[in-house]
């Protein structure tokens, strides 16, 4: 399964978001540190879910990191997160 799908599945399961976009942005980092042929190195996540109501920015990001899981986080090079309630 592509990493982006894996990220998407886990975020859906954890937060039941009303809006979720997971983009493999690796190609735009071609030539930069961490780029690997075939992509799957740099990801952008945009997520909107009720689950984040009342949480600080850091808490929201931590929750997203946790849901994605250390196995996936450890494999990718970069993860940009845009999270809101």
């Amino acid at each position: 399964m592509p990493v982006s799908e894996q990220i998407e599945q886990r975020l859906r399961a954890a937060f039941a978001p009303r809006e979720l976009q997971v983009v493999d942005d690796s190609e735009s980092h071609r030539g930069h540190a961490g780029f690997q042929e075939g992509g799957e190195s740099h990801f952008n996540v945009r997520i909107r879910a009720e689950a984040f109501v009342g949480q600080s920015r850091i808490a929201r990001h931590r929750a997203v990191h946790k849901a994605i899981g250390p196995d996936v986080i450890g494999r990718i090079h970069a993860l940009a997160i845009d999270v809101d309630a």
Partner: protein, 120 residues
């Protein structure tokens, strides 16, 4: 406590503003580190830069210390503030200004306004 932990604790205690980054503030090695260092430089904030690429113990240690898996990481007065996404959001919303003011960190308000005007 591991050596890396002790070293990190000492660094964030001795410096009001610390950026753990890939590369240095004058020569960043990663776009995300570059963005945060650039904002701090532009806003005239005095900060210590720690190049995690120069020390693998610190590179792994900082992620465990803050329980945050990515670099860069900004600390102010010993507190973890956030990574690239959070610092960018806080810069644009003005929360970064407030946080610096609350912590007695000197910065150039006009420069902060210019960043917001250019990214509004």
């Amino acid at each position: 406590m591991t050596d890396a932990n002790a070293q990190i604790q000492e660094t964030i205690t001795q410096n009001d503003v610390v950026l753990f980054m890939k590369g240095t503030k004058s020569m960043p090695q990663c776009g995300f580190s570059s963005r945060v260092a650039g904002v701090l430089n532009y806003m005239g904030v005095e900060f210590a830069d720690v190049n995690v690429l120069a020390d693998d113990g610190i590179r792994q240690g900082i992620k465990e210390f803050s329980e945050w898996p990515t670099i860069p990481q900004l600390y102010v007065k010993g507190e973890f503030i956030g990574g690239c996404d959070i610092i960018t959001e806080m810069t644009l919303s003005g929360e970064l200004d407030t946080m610096f003011e609350e912590n007695g960190v000197t910065y150039d308000k006009d420069a902060a306004e210019k960043i917001r005007a250019a990214n509004g």
